[in-house]
């Protein structure tokens, strides 16, 4: 009888394996990342197929290097070639907004991307009035109305959990009643059956200056949040308004209840040294579970536990930038864009480590970075 089993098994697997068809060419056509000399920050909008590239003012963009990460076998071409194009060097001096077409290996999928090279200084006051995108999740403009810089959030990561049925069910949403006009409302939410088995039972609502890398959202979530944008002024204070409510049940990385622990929101801004243009701090800027501080950080303004009170009333925060790691600002480097500023809001202070309470809410409005002359 045993022999029969083995024979049947062998026959079956042989017959099935012999049916494997020739490999089909890849159908994927997308831009997974874009880097290059002098690029300070890149925001890829996978929904609208728009890529915003930020370089410092004064950068020569007639020979801008663009190195794309594409799916296996895919190719990319500028829709209209410029005379000075020598891929991977592209001329953006005539048109800062250009179209590129990615073609899949099998030729069946073509995706058109708009790529814009921006020389933009980071604005210093934020009102959260304008949305770049409403669905499937809210994306905030960092610059108001006319601007093209956007706030980053973990919403694209939360999208993978399949939990949200509409844009209001994401951790980071716009709310119509702020301190003045609209505001941003951050909520810690459950990631359900998707997140729990992989050690990500919750998603804190967050909003930050920088970019979110969906590729790493599941694999290395701390590395998926790229914080910061070049900043050439000396910040002294960050001010704004907040409301906070802690969720009822605090849970750890495995989703287990931690009794007696209360969730806290977090508001902070850091100025850090960026040795290279493509350097940015990631979600691990307070290493060792938030007990240490990254060595690149020069100034930190962060709300204290005592100030982060639970309140239903709009409450003002006024935080000083305090020197860290014994570092001082080098005026020349500051002018040359060697420092980056990150502003981060989160509904759970340990949210980056997937610890917090579902239902914690942090509301933020009318934030301003005050700089020295």
């Amino acid at each position: 009888m045993k022999l029969k089993y083995i024979l049947a098994g062998v026959l079956l697997s042989l017959s099935i394996n012999s049916c494997i068809q020739d490999e089909a060419l890849n159908v994927e056509a997308a831009i997974d990342s874009c880097t290059g000399t002098n690029i300070q920050s890149t925001t890829i909008d996978h929904l609208r197929k728009e890529i915003e590239i930020y370089v410092l003012d004064g950068t020569n963009i007639s020979q801008q290097e663009l190195i794309f990460t594409l799916p296996e076998g895919a190719s990319i071409q500028a829709e209209k070639a410029e005379a000075n194009d020598q891929p991977p060097l592209y001329d953006f001096s005539q048109n800062t907004l250009r179209s590129f077409i990615v073609t899949s290996e099998d030729g069946a999928t073509q995706t058109k991307y708009l790529i814009r090279v921006n020389k933009l200084a980071l604005p210093t006051s934020y009102s959260f009035e304008e949305l770049k995108e409403v669905t499937p999740y809210n994306v905030f403009y960092l610059t108001n109305a006319s601007g093209i810089m956007q706030w980053a959030s973990g919403n694209p990561g939360y999208n993978l959990s399949g939990m949200a049925l509409n844009e209001t069910q994401y951790p980071t949403v716009q709310h119509p009643t702020g301190y003045s006009g609209k505001c941003v409302k951050l909520t810690t939410l459950s990631t359900g059956n998707f997140g729990k088995p992989i050690g990500m039972p919750i998603a804190a609502g967050n909003l930050f200056i920088g970019s979110f890398d969906t590729q790493n959202a599941v694999l290395a979530p701390l590395k998926a949040t790229h914080f910061g944008f070049p900043f050439t002024k000396r910040p002294s204070k960050i001010t704004g308004w907040f409301k906070y409510k802690a969720g009822d049940v605090f849970t750890d990385k495995s989703g287990n209840t931690v009794t007696g622990k209360k969730d806290k929101g977090d508001i902070y801004a850091v100025l850090y040294e960026a040795p290279n243009s493509d350097f940015s701090l990631d979600g691990n800027l307070f290493p060792n579970n938030g007990t240490e501080i990254d060595e690149h950080i020069v100034l930190l303004a962060r709300i204290s536990e005592q100030e982060m009170i639970e309140t239903n009333e709009w409450t003002k925060f006024n935080l000083d930038f305090i020197p860290q790691n014994g570092k001082t600002i080098n005026a020349e480097d500051l002018k040359n864009g060697k420092y980056k500023l990150a502003v981060v809001f989160s509904s759970s202070v340990m949210g980056a480590y997937f610890q917090g309470a579902v239902g914690s809410e942090l509301w933020i409005d009318e934030v301003e970075i005050i700089c020295e002359n």
Partner: protein, 261 residues
């Protein structure tokens, strides 16, 4: 289902002992049945095989592992011999069937959807590993033409009709990347402990049918040994279910023994 099988096993065993006890009194009845061209049989066996798309779609690059589950079948059938020589007959049976397997495969651009408990979903094309577990219990009615080759050998072939009582089609994806929501969407990498589970159990079709072909060898007066190949001919998924872009069919070999009255 397990409960079912147990109960039926017990019943059958009771039946056997009953029969041996009451043989003398029922003997006449059986002779009468036989003389009127009717045979009765109970069969027990195991199903070994797989639920697979046919032919294997190009999305499937390799099968990395396969393990059949222990899938027991129990059947009772009656055969009516039609001609005088009792060479041709027609049989109708009722069978408790289970079909069980687990596979690991490597796929490329395999369309899939993962639903959350809220009913929301994430969909896209998966390139990487897929682990699939298929476990189904059926109540099956085979209607077969029988042909006796010799006193010891007979062959049977015909359609079968199954009602799926319980079904599971689930698994997870691992070591690869998801392109969501379509071929031009964003890439999400999965490695090591990171995997995403899927479950299409609710999308399985309850009515399934196919063809069965097999042979039976009379080892002793009442004991038969059989092998039957059952080949599903309709997709195991409901018609409006499009996530798995190809139809899948259960193909199983049933081997076992039977007691003929």
């Amino acid at each position: 289902m397990k409960k079912y099988i147990k109960t039926i096993l017990v019943l059958l065993l009771c039946g056997f002992t009953q029969i041996s006890h009451a043989q003398s009194s029922e003997h006449k009845g059986l002779i009468w049945l036989a003389s009127h061209g009717l045979d009765y049989e109970v069969k027990a066996g195991v199903n070994i095989g797989g639920t697979s798309p046919l032919p294997l779609p190009k999305e499937i690059r390799s099968l990395d592992s396969y393990s059949p589950g222990l899938a027991i079948t129990l059947e009772g059938n009656a055969t009516k011999w039609i001609d005088e020589k009792q060479k041709w007959g027609i049989s109708v049976g009722i069978r408790l069937d289970s079909k069980d397997m687990e596979t690991k495969a490597s796929v490329k651009n395999y369309g899939m959807e993962i639903f959350s408990e809220t009913g929301g979903k994430i969909k896209g094309l998966w390139t990487g590993g897929v682990k699939t577990k298929v476990k189904m219990s059926y109540l099956t009615v085979p209607v077969l033409a029988n042909y006796r080759i010799s006193s010891r050998w007979k062959v049977m072939a015909g359609p079968y009709f199954s009602y799926m009582m319980n079904g599971e089609f689930s698994g997870n994806v691992y070591e690869g990347h998801l392109r969501t929501p379509d071929a031009s969407g964003s890439r999400v990498n999965f490695e090591g402990e990171n995997m995403a589970a899927y479950d299409f159990s609710d999308n399985l079709r309850h009515f399934q049918w196919g063809m069965q072909i097999g042979g039976e060898w009379k080892a002793y007066k009442h004991l038969n040994v059989h092998a039957d190949l059952t080949w599903g001919l309709n997709d195991i998924f409901e018609k409006d279910f499009t996530t798995v872009s190809f139809a899948m069919y259960p193909i199983y070999l049933n081997i076992g023994f039977g007691y003929e009255f």
